[in-house]
Symmetry: C2
Subunit: 227 residues, 2 copies
Amino acid sequence: MILVENMTKIYRNGENEVAALKDVNLHIRAGEFVAIMGPSGSGKSTLMNILGCLDKPTSGEYYLDGKPISQLDSRQLAYIRNKKIGFVFQNFNLLPRMSSLRNVEIPMIYAGIPPRERRIKAMEALKSVGLEDRWHHKPNELSGGQRQRVAIARALINSPKIILADEPTGNLDSKSGAEIMGIFTELHRNGATIVLVTHEDEIARYAQRIVFFRDGRKVDEKSSELL
Amino acid sequence: MILVENMTKIYRNGENEVAALKDVNLHIRAGEFVAIMGPSGSGKSTLMNILGCLDKPTSGEYYLDGKPISQLDSRQLAYIRNKKIGFVFQNFNLLPRMSSLRNVEIPMIYAGIPPRERRIKAMEALKSVGLEDRWHHKPNELSGGQRQRVAIARALINSPKIILADEPTGNLDSKSGAEIMGIFTELHRNGATIVLVTHEDEIARYAQRIVFFRDGRKVDEKSSELL
Ligand SMILES: Nc1ncnc2c1ncn2[C@@H]1O[C@H](COP(=O)(O)OP(=O)(O)OP(=O)(O)O)[C@@H](O)[C@H]1O
Ligand SMILES: Nc1ncnc2c1ncn2[C@@H]1O[C@H](COP(=O)(O)OP(=O)(O)OP(=O)(O)O)[C@@H](O)[C@H]1O
Ligand SMILES: [Mg+2]
Ligand SMILES: [Mg+2]
């Protein structure tokens, strides 16, 4: 399902170079639930952005369902980003001048879903994360954890086969966090492939396997039972 | 040091009303280290913004060192915000087009510190959070946890007497989180008053007392030893 081979990512700003990923190899099977852990700055979000087709590696290859991503055109990439993958961003990336409802509807507009059906599904999604009575609030009229939950609802709205979640519970109390992990668990049971970055052991334990990064490299992996 | 009496905060957007704080009473003594916990949306950031003189309550009063904040003019409030209080925002609030170094320097510009001394102190502050080699990076060239650490360095740069930290370790792995809590512990030992919002028990345990919020109300408090 997801195969990363000898992947390196170097950010260059003028003369400054940062190697964010160094020769990373990773294989995630269809239907697997993997957690990614590691220190701040170790390359986790960089990897997630590449897996989500939002960025390209400097070298190495990313195969998604057997297809080398570097050889796809922009229309094919847009299809993958909008219909195949649901991405929960570490900093939410909500549109600031739109309501929660509108923000959750956005991926369905790309998917060509008609307005009335969009509105109903978006309302249900907000209800599933406990925010139906905040549907009209813009992001700056929401708490930090509420924004995070809107970002999660938006990521899951097209029932994507692959869910990439970057620190989805970082701003949530343990009860709200457990409710969100319940949603991910249910989606996983229904066949979704999930890659989840977290710095909390309790959250990582919901996954089957945990992959550890340090300084841009994959350094270890283990079954979550051993955490 | 900090006294909150019968404080209510209602957000009104058109016809919509949200009571974010309801009749809150809170007393924090000088030199105390208090953690605030509670579900997502329970009013913690709203309280922090009022304590930081960034927002006003709808009713009730906030006394800071015996002075009723509602009776201070904008110059006195600016002095408090820039010199007396260090604020770590839940969403960091870094200036996007400036380097980390410049971002950390900003409070010292307000404090009238000359350029050369500012630059040296800002570099030391970045070093204390492990980011001296990222001084030239803008916020979008940093990881989530690195942005959080720049926000922390900026909040502490004027050695404020009162530190208000809203989820300061939400994006940090446990090692980076422990390093940050080490900094807060040291500042507390040197006499700072610290109010810290967190959803993690391990972080709350660094405080002396924990105050619990639910649905806009203060509902419980206990010594951190009992957590
Ligand atoms: N646009 C950029 N230009 C230069 N360096 C960058 C850029 N984006 C990220 N970096 C650097 O690449 C490294 C990896 O960043 P990344 O965001 O992947 O880390 P992370 O593991 O997600 O960290 P965190 O846990 O703090 O979110 C960091 O050291 C960061 O400073
Ligand atoms: N500008 C606003 N307009 C309307 N409602 C608002 C506004 N800002 C916050 N709220 C609401 O006030 C309530 C309290 O928000 P607050 O940000 O204080 O919560 P919090 O305890 O910090 O939550 P979290 O743990 O998720 O950060 C929330 O229900 C939120 O939707
Ligand atoms: Mg990250
Ligand atoms: Mg908050």
